[in-house]
Amino acid sequence: MSVGIVMLVHTALGRAEQVARHWSAAGCPLVIHADVSVPRQTYNAFVKALSDLPNVQFSKRHRCEWGTWGLVAASQAASQLMLDSFPDVRHVYLASGSCLPLRPVEELIDYLENRPHTDFIESATTADVPWTIGGLDSERFTLRFPFSWRKHRYLFDKYVSIQRALGMKRRIPGGIVPHMGSQWWCLTRQTLSAILSDPERATFDRYFSKVWIPDESYFQTLARQYSRQIESRSLTLSKFDYQGKPHIFYDDHLQLLRRSDCFVARKIWPHANRLYDAFLTDAAHAMKKTEPNPGKIDRIFAKAVERRTRGRPGLYMQSRFPVETRENGLTSAQYSVFQGFSALFENFESWLARATGTRVHGHLFAPERAEFCDGQTVMNGALSDSAALRDYNPRAFLASLIWNTRGERQCFQFGPRDNQAVNWDIAKDPNAQISVISGAWAVPLFKSNQNFSDIRREAARLQQIESKHLEILRSSWTKARVRIWTMAEFIEAPMEPLQTIIDEIGPQQNMRGLAEVPKMADLTGFGQFLQNLKNQGMHPYLMGNFPVARDPMEPPGNKRKPYLVR
């Protein structure tokens, strides 16, 4: 009793020959099917090269285009020849020319010897698996696919949509339930011969020849009819990318493949000399005996698919430049924007850095330069503080800063004096935490030593800019966590909002509440200042209601005491 190998080859015949010799040397009879597209001369040379092997046969050649019936026809013909010419064969293993045995063939033979009635074929109903690419799952079995997906994609798609529109459906031949799975199987003689000599085979063949990718469903479906015992998995390790193409193994996968413990791997790059040398060797040099377990290397290939389809959030680079709404995160990590805080508190930045342990910048979008923390002129990633460079692409500036400092939360100040070009981007970014004390921009003006007419003009300008910004923050498109207080509201009870913001930034560091409070600017006379602006015809409204008579810092002269919030 032995294992027969049906091998489908189409390119890299040199490697196919090498592998065929390996199988043959272990006593496995082979039936080789070469694609019609292999030139006659090459094919003849290939046949001749293998002519010294006693147990190799060549089956009738079919055209094997991916996704078409040809592959099934080729497997049928080759399997039939195998069953007819080698009566000793109990299991038939379907492999391709780019498959590589990972374990000594004797182990495979022993393994199958111990499971004489088991068919190894991955076979699942379409409803249960999300494997399919391109949205054709159950429709594979109910529509017709006369056009090649590779060569006539337009006709293929059109014909599918026409059939959908007209509600055309094929009848599935009686008694079978469509199953799908990997096209690389290993079936027993009993099952395989039952499939091949089924009285209704002509009906099934006619039906499956119009099914989409029949090589993934023909044997998978029919094996369910006859098998005594199906083990629904493939003995061949084969990984697929997001388009359903098999991943290719290279020399650097050697250790990975050693750990895979599968019997055969597909598909191997023909020039992967190290792999071929390492695995096409005798039992003495090969690896230990273990139950096949392809799960171990799943992770690395699942990651590749994830990278190709979702990418790294917040990364903009030469091969990832998502259109709006497809960013999967405008930035890579959470960050906080503070508006008005550094105007209202004298030492807000250093206080925030101490209280939260985060990186606290000044006004990153200030008109003069990007005020990085500690007065640095260059930041992580060699990001320059030049205002011109930053304003050339402010969005890239922000995304780069957050990307470059992954693992360390960034906080920065913002205000109506700053470049407003990124307002929408920040507002739409779920990673942003925006806290605004509206109208606080008036405090530096109040403290400044400018002519009042200049102050008035500047106040009018800033108020207009800030109110536009607030409109954005309150729009329905905003995804950032936004908190807005008027200045009057905020100074009533400053610690409560501060505590909330800080808890949100890093709750672990502040279990004990704030040990220290930032020092608020002296606002004596601020109410009068606002009234003066009003008297000049400029109505400051963003800061809320400040009475003229009573200063917020009552009683005057009595400095506020720091206090603790529990």
Partner: protein
């Protein structure tokens, strides 16, 4: 895209081809070994002038990578580059005295050579100071990449230009023939690149890096473009239209993903800033044969007189391609 637009693109492509034809008369073959080129081989195209000192390392770097043949235009070198190249068994060499600028910075010459010898091959177009790095380049030859691209029906592969520079003055450590230039110029800017999309041709326009940071902080628009598409499965219909930044037909420029995913990409390590640079910059400023009347070089010379150091605290030292992939400068895409 309207019919008119696509027809205009076609005209532009035809125009570029006509230019290449016109300019090819100035090319004189010195050694033509193109008869050795076999189907499916990987070809490298380059234009150079006075790069003798870099050539030994350059050729070996790409030979080790698996490039099969070099097709090089020597723009009137006077330092013996021509003789050196003519002696190499895998180099075909053309010589010209014509203007580099009027051949659109060499593009016309190479378009001609690529059309003549590159059809059906994977072609790599790089300068002698550019070292191509792609995912798994330490374990897989370039043929693994091109085979994979063929299998994925991808015809072009992007590799951003990454400016490398030494720590300290550019002229502090002299470069020796045959030395890996990255040993000296081993630093780069890891994360200050700015990208926008060129709607007309569909390619990305990338700027940034040390040149934007040091030479153009007040006029970033003038900072040089860093996006490159050096590796293309060549068809005689293709043309580069502006250095290797972009091509026609436009589909070749789509080397990036717009739906959130990452496609595979590489990096061209640009070892321009060696001690040889100061001399070169002065010369190029006089020749005015480079883009925008060598404006770039003018900025370099002025800046380097004052601050000859491109290095900063946040510069990153080059280790390998995996480092670049982690930093997000290149990607494995779905190649695993």
């Amino acid at each position: 895209m309207s019919i008119v637009q696509s027809y205009r693109m076609r005209l532009q492509r035809k125009h570029a081809k006509a230019r290449a034809f016109r300019k090819h008369f100035s090319l004189r073959p010195v050694v033509d070994r193109t008869g050795h080129i076999k189907p499916g081989q990987i070809l490298l195209f380059s234009t150079l002038r006075d790069e003798h000192i870099r050539l030994p390392y350059f050729l070996n770097y790409y030979r080790d990578m698996g490039v099969d043949h070099f097709l090089i235009v020597d723009n009137d070198s006077t330092d013996g580059s021509g003789d050196y190249l003519a002696d190499q068994p895998d180099v075909s060499l053309w010589h010209t005295r014509a203007s580099y600028k009027r051949a659109r910075y060499g593009v016309d010459w190479l378009n001609w050579l690529q059309a003549s010898y590159g059809h059906g091959h994977w072609t790599l177009v790089v300068d002698p100071d550019e070292l191509f790095v792609y995912p798994f380049c330490d374990t897989r030859p370039i043929r693994a990449l091109t085979d994979w691209l063929d299998g994925s029906n991808v015809r072009s592969f992007g590799a951003m230009l990454l400016d490398m520079y030494p720590k300290g003055r550019l002229d502090a450590v002299p470069y020796r023939r045959g030395q890996d230039p990255i040993e000296i110029a081993s630093w780069f800017d890891p994360g200050n690149y700015m990208i926008s999309k060129n709607r007309k041709y569909g390619n990305l326009w990338i700027q940034g890096g040390p040149r934007a940071r040091v030479f153009f902080p007040e006029s970033p628009k003038k900072a040089p473009a860093l996006n490159k598409i050096p590796l293309v499965k060549w068809n005689r219909r293709n043309t580069y239209i502006s250095s290797t930044h972009m091509l026609l037909p436009r589909g070749l420029n789509l080397v990036y993903d717009e739906w959130g995913g990452e496609t595979a990409s590489g990096v061209l390590l640009h070892a321009k800033f060696l001690d040889t640079f100061t001399h070169k910059a002065k010369e190029e400023m006089q020749r005015k044969q480079h883009y925008r009347a060598s404006l770039e070089y003018k900025a370099y010379v002025e800046n380097l007189r004052e601050t000859p150091d491109l290095w900063c605290k946040w510069s990153e030292k080059y280790i390998n391609w995996r480092q670049l992939e982690i930093l997000g400068l290149m990607s494995k895409g779905n190649w695993a």
